[in-house]
Symmetry: C2
Subunit: 134 residues, 2 copies
């Protein structure tokens, strides 16, 4: 079921500082920042040769990463996103295996404009997993 690692998401308290660290200190190629108010984050893509890191800063009052940053004020790794061919098929297989899909179980349109689902981190050893249909 799991395809490529689409991205590793890192929540940061200060996107300007984090972008500078990845660009200037680590010498990586970084994108312009993009505000995604409907997703409650501002994002910068760190473009590696085989995948991406996404630096996320909370945007707005209901950001989905606000609680994570309250618990981890320095920031930290927030989730891993894997590509899947068919997200409904993946969801049905996962539910049949006893895994919990967050929310109402229906895919939403994610930050890349593709259908996504999140899986409960308690079912995957503390790791929040996002699935994205390409």
């Amino acid at each position: 079921m799991l395809g490529k690692v689409n991205h590793i998401a890192i929540a940061v308290p200060d996107l300007v500082q984090a972008t500078a660290a990845y660009r200037d200190t680590l010498g990586a190629r970084v994108s312009q920042s993009q505000a995604l108010p409907e997703h409650g984050v501002t994002v910068v893509f760190v473009e590696l040769p085989n995948t991406k890191v996404e630096l996320l800063e909370p945007l707005g009052a209901d950001s989905p990463i606000a609680a994570f940053l309250a618990k981890n004020p320095d920031g930290g790794m927030h989730h891993i996103c894997y590509e899947v061919e068919d997200i409904l098929d993946a969801r049905d297989q996962l539910k049949a295996a006893g895994a919990r899909v967050l929310g109402n179980g229906e895919p939403k349109i994610g930050a890349h404009g593709k259908p996504v689902l999140f899986l409960h981190p308690k079912d995957f050893f503390g790791t929040l997993i996002e699935l994205e249909q390409l």
Copy 2:
């Protein structure tokens, strides 16, 4: 400086259960487990098309992931490893930029038999970064 994401390391309290979840529930290809007593972990590789996830379970009394699991008993994302061409050159650039290298600053031979360094997570927004020379 940063090359490919070599792996994403996930610390887990029970490697047998975690391997089963990635293999059976998530449908990923997983390796046999390998005990690496000199690194204080037992590891299973989850092989994705573009990179690897490494599931790590503590091994022995001085495991480097024991403190992380004491703080995160369910497990969680532990570090990201990036490939670099020249680890001494990378280290010198990082130190010149003010980043802290863990330990004595000299590369050690990592779990893949290659020279590695770890960077202080406080300098990278809560993310522990490993650099590995290919």
